[in-house]
């Protein structure tokens, strides 16, 4: 199918993009990499009046380091992020997750910010932002506000982003060197949206877990942070960890549903297994049950 007609604008600056979004009064949709939006347009599931292409705004490109962590400009292509030395050094969990986003060909166009802003519940980038404690920078003619990724997601493709706002950057706090990466996903084919997936990071100091951030994707209407699991992990000694019990705690913070891909029960079962495996692998735990 072909998209319904729309007007196209290609602003050269963030200010110009925000002005167009403000004047459009909700009738505009932002086009970043287009790898999710273009299918929605082609299938006419989305029919905006104006498409605002932010692809040529230089200020939205690239990865940088600052006092509050690693900042990724919203238009940074997934393929570029995947190959970025700063991200490899500071955010290995994010890089691992990026390798599972779509295919080589879609990562060449798709952006980190676009995926974070869209809020597909089975996508890797929103869950990684939640798990790693990212802050989202939302800019409009009214100014810039910072919103934690945890709390940004309201429902499938529904976020706290106002119609006149543009996601301009995602900033991930630092995790200490040598922190543990947890990532697993189950999909029918490589590049498909995950049926069930989990991503996170943890810090172990002298046998004690001192920090943990974990989130599900494909396990509910939004990415879901595993609060109970995080609370159980932090302060716990590695020697006393029971991966099986911890995984059940992780699943307790999920809200999967039945759809034509899989049942909620299947998702819970697979989620429990991949989480238990991931915990065992990351913390070098013995098989218990």
């Amino acid at each position: 199918m072909k998209p319904a007609p729309f007007d196209y604008e290609r602003p050269a600056s963030i200010a110009e993009a925000c002005r167009i979004l403000s004047e459009a009064g909700g009738g505009a949709t932002v086009l970043a990499g287009g790898q999710t939006l273009m299918p929605l347009l082609n299938l006419r599931m989305s029919q905006p009046f104006i498409l605002v292409d932010i692809g040529r705004i230089a200020a939205l490109q690239g990865v940088s380091r600052g006092g509050d962590g690693t900042r990724i400009g919203a238009m940074t292509r997934q393929a570029d992020a995947l190959a970025d030395p700063l991200l490899a050094a500071h955010l290995p969990a994010l890089v691992t997750a990026l390798g599972h986003v779509g295919h080589h060909q879609t990562r060449n166009r798709g952006t980190v910010g676009g995926s974070v802003a869209l809020g597909e519940p089975a996508a890797e980038m929103p869950a990684a932002a939640v798990a790693l404690g990212a802050m989202l920078e939302l800019t409009s003619v009214r100014g810039t506000r910072k919103v934690p990724a945890d709390g940004f997601y309201i429902g499938p493709y529904m976020t706290a982003l106002e119609p006149d706002e543009l996601l301009t950057a995602v900033t991930y706090p630092d995790w200490p060197e040598g922190h543990l990466v947890l990532f697993r996903e189950v999909a029918r084919r490589p590049g498909d949206f995950a049926l069930v997936g989990m991503v996170g990071a943890a810090v172990v100091e002298e046998g004690i877990v001192t920090r943990a951030g974990l989130a599900w994707f494909g396990m509910g209407p939004t990415p879901i942070r595993m609060r109970q699991l995080e609370a159980a992990l932090v302060g716990a000694a590695l020697a006393g960890l029971d991966a099986h019990a911890l995984a059940a705690l992780g699943v307790a913070d999920s809200a999967p549903f039945d759809d034509h891909h899989a049942s909620a029960e299947y998702r819970r079962t697979v989620g429990r297994r991949i989480l238990a495996r991931s915990l065992r692998e990351a913390f070098a735990l013995k098989e218990t049950a």
Binding site: M1, K2, P3, A4, P5, F6, D7, Y8, R10, L31, G34, Q35, M38, P39, L41, N42, L43, L51, D53, G55, A79, G102, H103, H104, Q105, T106, N108, R109, R189, P190, G191
Partner: protein, 165 residues
């Protein structure tokens, strides 16, 4: 429904055109530029048949608007072979390995391989096979394509090593 003037380099030639905002790069290439080697399967980014290179990178031309290609260098399968018809190495590899059956997915596969093996790019067999996840061959002729990928990675195209086992 805005209209836009675009200038791009298509298969080495400068082109100017006026396109409707909603025209995909794939439709522009097929219907306006006559590059019917760009195949459209699913039109939502899953099948990979429409893959072309834009500024040297393999992308889905159905998931990009023609207006977004303004100022870019686009190569389609028509731009692979030399003007005298000599095959590009990826074409030669696919031929030697019997990497195609009905041929519908082939232009897309060729463009992905060309982007990953041309010039400075030296993808490993593993990287080429991984990038194949972005292509669907409904003849399920993947083993031939895989042999072509191996020959490209090992640099044995033209040495006969890619022939059917």
């Amino acid at each position: 429904m805005s209209k836009h003037a675009i200038d791009l380099t298509l298969n080495g030639q400068r082109r100017s055109a006026g396109v409707e905002a909603r025209t995909s790069l794939a439709d522009y290439l097929r219907l306006d530029a006559g590059c019917t080697g760009v195949h459209l399967g699913c039109e939502h980014g899953v099948c990979g048949a429409c893959t072309v290179t834009v500024d040297g990178r393999a992308v889905r031309s159905c998931l990009m608007l023609a207006v977004q290609a303004d100022g870019c260098a686009v190569t389609t399968v028509e731009g692979l072979a030399a003007p005298d018809g000599t095959f590009h190495p990826v074409q030669q590899a696919m031929r030697e390995a019997h990497g195609l059956q009905c041929g519908f997915c082939t232009p897309g596969v060729l463009m992905t391989f060309a982007a990953l093996t041309g010039g400075e790019a030296r993808a490993s067999e593993e990287e080429l096979v991984s990038a194949m996840s972005g292509h669907v061959c409904r003849c399920t002729g993947y083993q031939g394509i895989r042999r072509a990928a191996r020959a490209l990675a090992e640099g044995t195209v033209g040495a006969g090593a890619g022939a059917a086992e």
